[in-house]
Symmetry: D2
Subunit: 336 residues, 4 copies
């Protein structure tokens, strides 16, 4: 970390800064030029609060030389692998999570679950509580949806994942859900993240609509630092000026988080594009780029889906997709 | 609302669509061309879920002709005015909310509060619970900070505003806080918004970092539709590719929400720019553009501020700012 | 196209609008509701200038129902195929364009060209004129660079592509270059596009840094409408708030232009990420998503590259990449 | 500037780097830590090509501590003032440029010009050559438009500004135009910028649709470094995810360029919002924020404007706007 010292700073302010820096396990060295004077901080600067540091009288600017992240790309730490039932996420596995956007009825969820299972999906997805932009939109079957998801789990013996909305739901989710999903809108709901850091359950953390990769990893850090090391990242598209697609899928981000962390990262091709016609191609691209899996929406009747129908693919298409993914996986060095 | 019908749609699918549309208080008319067939829906389409509608087999695309908002710019509804103690927000009032980013100590908050009051501020701001990107950053004095804020209120007799983090804090906030702030990161924390719709307390709703104006108004709708009509909007800058400023202040959005709603809208020039050197100029611009007020960070020692020091101005500068604002206000037709 | 008529419009203004619309080969129909009155325009509305139409007194708003593009996704037009020497771009071919960012010396360009050729590249890239953000940056060898590129062509018998800067260079480029590249910064240099529409030479049109897909296709339209039908689109990443990568590669855009046009589209994984470590993975993803090819930077000594070294891969990596691409291609239905 | 050295770099690579750095008038100092080794470069690093520097074998990353700009905010250079006829742009002047988006006919341009003049406008704007997204849109009266603009100049004795499209137009523009406008789409048309650097005529350089402030200043540098010091910057809105307004006006950028350069900066409230209803408010905000002027579209019949009618205001509104601006100016310390 590099600190640029303000011209003509008084000794008093320099002392204040030194006292603060001495609280951390770091060394620094002063470099004086004609126009500027900088201090180079070396060591673990991740505990320093940038905003706070910038507020010191003596400081003109602060620049990070190393990403402010706990994960050091230079130490080849083993990649994090997360076990969910008989499924392992991360490492050289490519995990396919499939199911409807939202749970709508018993036969809907069970029939889709069975088809997904038959075609090779590992984990069942299904929304019970749906965060919607408009208060007048379908908000999900809520607890009833969760019960139906559990029935589908019993029938298919697949682990289930569904989205949590708030802290008060945690006990029920810990009891019944195999992977707890944190939606894009809650990526910086720190109150929720802190609570999820205290439980022992895999968390799928979606990237916020306009979250930088660093913010995304910092949100993961809220969970990790609480003690829960089972975090799965999920790239689901970011907001840009382009309106033809619902969001812009950022596959470079998959590579970025693999350089900056050891966490597994999967891709959501359904929400990113918002168009079923793009789901298969983007899924193959996600595997080709090196993602650890996909979470894809499958619906046996997208035209009647109560939510996000336009971005769900039919089971037959899902089958074809799985066939192609199985052929591509070994070339990429992934097991599927 | 315009629906484009898919070519060669079967009667059965047309019927399904008609049955759905008949649930709403709308009329429609079919228009056939060589290549395309569209239905024009007329009436209050705001209750229709776009995503759901798009999922019908018969539909190729759906286009809104009128903003999907409850507020109709054509009926000249009276502007919403919100009373807080002896302060009125909205109408032709320009309200100045001032104070430190976060409450740090008794004398800090009280001395700043008194200076702000003396120079003409109407409402006192101060963060007790601070949402921070990094779990290793100062998170605020929390409940102790709220207690100190209440002491400052007693001394200065100014109403206070502070940010809420979660539903479980609501009872305490209803009891002690005059305006409850919902931060940008919680703009789509629908669980929280629904709960705030059930109480009788003014809510300041900050625009999300990358929220469209429509999403922002829809989040307000979550509170309004719950019965709480006391919503104040706050533009605080959006995320763009520009990195010189912390965010990009979007003053056109102030004009937009005034065209689309009757709610008062204030501007946060401190968080948007992230640079104290820009706060005064952006505050004057906010008044000139027609905002109903500003929420500005004032700190008697920004260089030691535990949070966001670099974007706080000193009391002396705040005094000068107030002097200029008082001169500009009458030209804009605002009372200050 | 849907026109919303202003409330209480006078007959005179309605007449003016009708006179204007009668100039086009379209029909329209009026739909009246309680609150609103709209006209539905049907037919080829692509010749209507939206901005102009909006300026009519009678019109409150204009909404497009069909993309304002010449390419109709419903008629299954044959995909455009472009012949360059013995190479065919488009259709079911996957074309690999490779070479250094900029031509630096005779042995540099010739040695790289020969290696690229040996490993299966079809076309040789190399910058002679380099557009640079700073006037103090290396601007390319210019005409000398073009001469060296021609030597490399003679030796390897590969067609060459290089970027044009201005209209006055066209005669020389028509004489010596096989594919003329229009850079992202010139995507809306209409003066240049019009001139390129009048020649008979393939044009590679890069997407602008923040160009929407529609604007990109409209820029292609400038060339196509001039008579030159040999346009190749190139996705090279868009500008977003994310700074870890140089740009954000938008692979959904590849699918979008295939829905909206018949033109071939290739991907530039080198400029989009700006990191050599991501080039191979993004290249495989580009093939997997269905792109018609890639344009990739290869340098035998990236560490000394005079321009964009950090995003070039070494020949050995390029060889491995080609091996993987050859395995993936048949699964995607592409010839390589 | 800070260079991070790769771990385990060989002496040979260190030498190469030193040789390169010795070409510049800079000093550097090495700082070694447990994990990292950095060099601090001090002096005028503006001549160093970042991309090139990054390409050295020894270098892992490069970080700028000071903006890579010629303008040093610490030396209080006098602000650049530019004389155009009897008008001075910059300093404490607030300059109002007004006129129609495009010249349409003799009486149109002359009548608007006279009204603008009467109400206090200083300079006349009017587009002769219009860059349009679609090749099927009105492209301007071109040379005939320029002739009409000259007539309006004779009648009103106002200096004129109009947009240039390409290098071949320069001689005519030097002869007849008082300020040459470079449009947003040409901000990085370096071929054009270099040519404009060699003439003695004021240039109004619009900010590109998604140009960073640094890129904008670097484009200005292309003109300045050529010898033409008469550059006026123009903020005209940037592209974001928000679609309610045509662009997002970035008034913080006005403050930023004033911190980073001595050049005058004016604001275009018409193109940024794309809505006439916002033009007046945004103009006042531009003055309040400290801009050196505005360039605003005025049309006596916006409903029939051949281009951008919806964002033009009528002369009567322009008069009211001028009245308000004259009242606000002295408070901001500007002459109008």
């Amino acid at each position: 970390m590099i600190i640029k010292i303000k011209p003509n700073t008084q000794d008093y302010d320099i002392e204040m800064l030194k006292n603060y820096l001495n609280e951390f396990d770091i060394e620094w060295q002063e470099v004086k030029g004609k126009k500027a004077c900088v201090w180079c901080l070396i060591g673990d600067t991740s505990k320093i609060d940038l905003q706070h540091l910038k507020s010191f009288n003596a400081i003109e600017s602060v620049t990070k030389i190393q990403e402010n992240s706990k994960c050091d790309p230079y130490e080849n730490k083993p990649k994090t692998e997360i076990k969910v039932g008989n499924v392992t996420i991360g490492g050289d596995n490519f995990t396919v999570i499939a199911g409807p956007c939202s749970v709508e009825s018993r036969e809907q969820i069970i029939s889709i679950a069975m088809e997904c299972k038959n075609y090779g999906a590992h984990i069942l997805r299904g929304g019970a509580f749906k965060p919607r932009t408009s208060p007048y939109s379908f908000q999900g079957l809520e607890l009833e949806g969760l019960d139906l998801l559990l029935e589908a789990k019993k029938v298919t013996n697949m682990p289930i994942i569904t989205e949590i909305q708030s802290v008060d739901m945690i006990p029920r989710f810990v009891k019944d859900v195999d992977i707890i999903q944190v939606g894009a809108r809650n990526m910086q709901n720190f109150h929720l993240l802190k609570a999820l850091g205290k439980i022992d359950k895999p968390i799928l953390l979606k990237r916020g609509l306009s979250a930088t990769i660093e913010e995304w990893l910092m949100s993961a850090e809220y969970i990790l630092s609480g003690g829960n090391k089972k975090v799965i990242l999920c790239e689901r598209g970011i907001r840009t000026f382009e309106t033809y697609t619902r969001n812009t899928l950022d596959l470079s981000a998959v590579l970025a988080v693999k350089e900056l962390s050891t966490l597994p990262v999967i891709v959501d091709p359904s929400h990113s594009a918002g168009k079923w016609s793009m789901v298969e191609a983007l899924s193959k691209a996600s595997l080709a780029v090196g993602a650890d899996g996909i979470i894809v929406e499958v619906h046996n009747n997208p035209d009647c889906a109560l939510c996000d129908g336009p971005q769900s693919i039919k089971p037959k298409r899902f089958k074809n997709l799985m066939d192609d993914l199985k052929k591509i996986a070994p070339i990429i060095g992934k097991k599927l």
